[in-house]
């Protein structure tokens, strides 16, 4: 059974700082997704990573995927308060015919002024 682990689960950081968060998964997959969730709100798609070595950037966030290491990173550059949210990674188990995503527990990020 696919397990998705996020590290850390809670992060408090100051504005202007950089940080990297991690998403590990337990079985082979080359499809990984990052979502953002604001308190009481829905899930907003940030990145779709569909191959080994995929790197995508949007604003202060950059996501990458290493399928050999079964690892994705989400790098935050010069954090701002607006980035405060919970970030989920989700993995496609790549089972034939499956449409299921398996989510990690989420990382709650607080960016302090």
């Amino acid at each position: 059974e696919l397990k998705v682990e996020q590290n850390p689960l809670f992060l408090s950081m100051q504005e202007g700082k950089n940080y990297t968060i991690y998403c590990n998964y337990s079985t082979t997959s080359d499809r990984l997704y990052w979502y953002r969730q604001d308190p009481g709100k829905s899930l907003e798609s940030l990145f779709v990573l569909l191959s080994n070595g995929a790197v995508k950037q949007e604003g202060r966030l950059m996501a990458s995927l290493d399928t050999k290491a079964r690892l994705s990173t989400l790098h935050i550059t010069a954090a701002v308060h607006d980035l405060s949210a919970t970030y989920f990674c989700a993995v496609d188990p790549r089972l034939s015919g499956s449409e299921k995503l398996v989510f990690g527990k989420g990382m709650k990020l607080t960016v302090n002024p």
């Binding site: 997704y33 979502y35 899930l43 907003e44 798609s45 989920f88 496609d92 449409e99 398996v102």
Partner: protein
């Protein structure tokens, strides 16, 4: 941008009652999903629906749960006899081509079973 809409935003019900959660997916999408998130926990897959039938369901999606696309626009989740442990935020999602691309999630229905 088109969006997935869900109603109601909050639903309170008594244990044992039936509830229907409603979703209007993005109009040209073909794949539909329900996920749920118990407070403070991770998002869990319930069911996927394509071509007017369930394509996959999780262990959570037992006989008390059913889904329907009654009229080509709505996508509903019914829980026949709610339990306390069904209390959660239920998210509907849709996609044009499946999980090869991003899923669009609705804003959720917070279900509270008393």
């Amino acid at each position: 941008e088109p969006e997935v809409t869900q109603t109601p935003s909050h639903q309170v019900t008594q244990m044992g009652q039936e509830v229907i959660l409603r979703c209007v997916p993005i109009s040209n999408h073909l794949y539909f999903y329900w996920y749920r998130q118990i407070l403070g926990q991770k998002v869990e897959f319930l069911v996927s629906f394509y071509n007017n039938e369930i394509s996959e369901k999780s262990e959570i999606f037992d006989d008390q749960f059913s889904v329907e696309r009654p009229d080509g626009s709505n996508f509903t989740l019914k829980i026949r006899s709610t339990k306390l442990e069904d209390s959660a935020m239920y998210f509907c999602a849709s996609s044009l081509t499946g999980i090869n691309e991003k899923l669009f999630f609705g804003s959720g229905t917070q279900l509270s079973v008393l």
